[in-house]
Assembly symmetry: C2
Homo-oligomer: 390 residues x 2
Amino acid sequence: MRIEAGLTLECGQSLGPIDIAYCAHGTLNPARDNAILVCHALTGDQYVAAPHPLTGKPGWWSRMVGPGLPIDTDRFFVLCTNVLGGCMGSTGPRSIGPKGEPWGTEFPPITIRDMVRAQALLLDHFGIDRLFAAIGGSMGGMQVLEWVATYPERVFAAMPIATAPYHSAQNIAFNEVSRQAIFADPEWHGGRYWAHDTVPARGLAVARMMAHITYLSEEALAAKFGRRVRREARAAAGSSTGGALGTASLFGEMFEVESYLRHQGSSFVRRFDANSYLTITRALDYFDLSAAFDGDFAAPFRGVKTRFCVVSLSSDWLFPTSASRSLVRALNRAGVNVSFVEIETDRGHDAFLLDEPDLDRTMRGFLNGAAEQAGLNRGDSEPGDSGDSA
Amino acid sequence: MRIEAGLTLECGQSLGPIDIAYCAHGTLNPARDNAILVCHALTGDQYVAAPHPLTGKPGWWSRMVGPGLPIDTDRFFVLCTNVLGGCMGSTGPRSIGPKGEPWGTEFPPITIRDMVRAQALLLDHFGIDRLFAAIGGSMGGMQVLEWVATYPERVFAAMPIATAPYHSAQNIAFNEVSRQAIFADPEWHGGRYWAHDTVPARGLAVARMMAHITYLSEEALAAKFGRRVRREARAAAGSSTGGALGTASLFGEMFEVESYLRHQGSSFVRRFDANSYLTITRALDYFDLSAAFDGDFAAPFRGVKTRFCVVSLSSDWLFPTSASRSLVRALNRAGVNVSFVEIETDRGHDAFLLDEPDLDRTMRGFLNGAAEQAGLNRGDSEPGDSGDSA
């Protein structure tokens, strides 16, 4: 959707008109109060429950969002937008800028709040005054938090998953290394790779590979690969290396984990733009809800009526449970209605995208309870009945 | 030192003659039983207690090794060798190979055991039948373990610090990303960068930056940098970003942690060879003491008389305490004399190189006790008295 008026960004620069690409599932009821905004993570997009047009793969949360699923599109109207700064149709570094060529590195710096304000413009377009719920994991969870902090009246229920109210020093450091990997690629061309009909594929793949390690727990990596050596490398055996030596060359793919990471890296570069990666990682790094409040994470939530369910994943070391606990403490200090669930899983940060029945149950339970409180439970097939909840 | 006979490597290839560069401190007593081998980590070298010839910085463990220090050179004869495959004088990828040019990527794959067997040749040269102690952290600790597994009669006491009896899937994955970062550098030239009078500095810096994050705990990163924004970026303020926006460009150094990592990366490339980095990370990845024993980590230590003190660091997530505990359990199963100390520190893996009084005390206590058991305590100033301990 094109928003002609555009948006004045936090950095002060005006951007506009802007495009906000989105997918919608389910039906918006006449009261327009059954909308759920699902927010995507760093490398996600709007294809939450529909096949991805470039990869043909199912939507990234197709096991969560759909008819009869925990985020039930028979009941709820589910919106998912490509974030501002992204590369799947929303305005971002790949869009044509004022010079008649792609913005590239001259695309203005974007914040999580800018992403949220762009989403709010889309809701205005739909006439949705208040979201029934905002839900998201990782960077999606940051958007959920920023939604409540920026538009407290516009979010009835919020579920931030595997996230934190600020980006940690370690997370910033990992992002910085991934940016440096992109800059180091000979095909980077100062960000004008499009003019050279190329992409910094190797640098972007290295960035993705490193990030991917941080998305998995040691348990998940070990369970998936352990020290298993690829069959072709196994032919001959060195006595102390379990067969890792022998015919395998020094630079071949010795361990299965390496092969997997290389695949992850190379499949990623086919669908993602390097300048978007830079823009969005910067947005993550800027994120600190307490910055305007002298380090007080409770301040942005004082007086907020939104019902929260904060979810963490026990083996997530990128956004550890301790970060979620500190968020819960801040919400408690602010007097906000909050419940907290730590999902027991050994699959690390990425577990929120995987088959975790406990997360499904938590999602169903929270949305059912919140729908009752919102007066949404009188059957969406009789939309006339829901007029009193507006 | 040149060893004319060379060495047949685990991969089956013969390498020779080989050079083993080393530093020695203290005096070898006439009984030749007061020698301590200190083993260096991935990017360390033989300059354990002497200034580094390229950087001018003090030795990497100069706070631990010296007169009156925990590894007391008034008492012990301390040897530290540059590992086989290294780039500070020992035979490695930068050495001239059979084609009359540097080996580069054609340098044969090296294992931790190969490194240890090269060190054993140096001990033979000194006429040292048995080390009083083998000590090392991280990859140095792997060498300590391999010493005992390969030459159980030649090590009286062993202190592996912040290490593991195998390289984990996560560690292999991080190493693979660092290798890919080097390969992605336009100055890599298939490993023949020396022929182009260049080095893959950016790729190597990215590798080092990533590794450096894994050496620090989140606490250490946060304490060192937190989210502090560099002064020049602080000039103007964006409301939700604590001043991170404003004058700072999207690709400038926004947070202090980034500036630090960039410095770490660039100072490293001045002293380290990319092909050595590849060779040594591969050696780490191959390491698995149980490989020849069907996954049994106790097997290599059965019947071993060496006294062990296993040391872990509480906030080390690269070689976590759980890895040391599993080593201790294996040593217990093998009936080996082992004590275990977890040093409480919030500084992560790198803490073993830093001022940690608890580590100093542990080192002194263990070496004192072992020296007594070895009959080394009758005053090294009267070497004639120590004849009975041979």
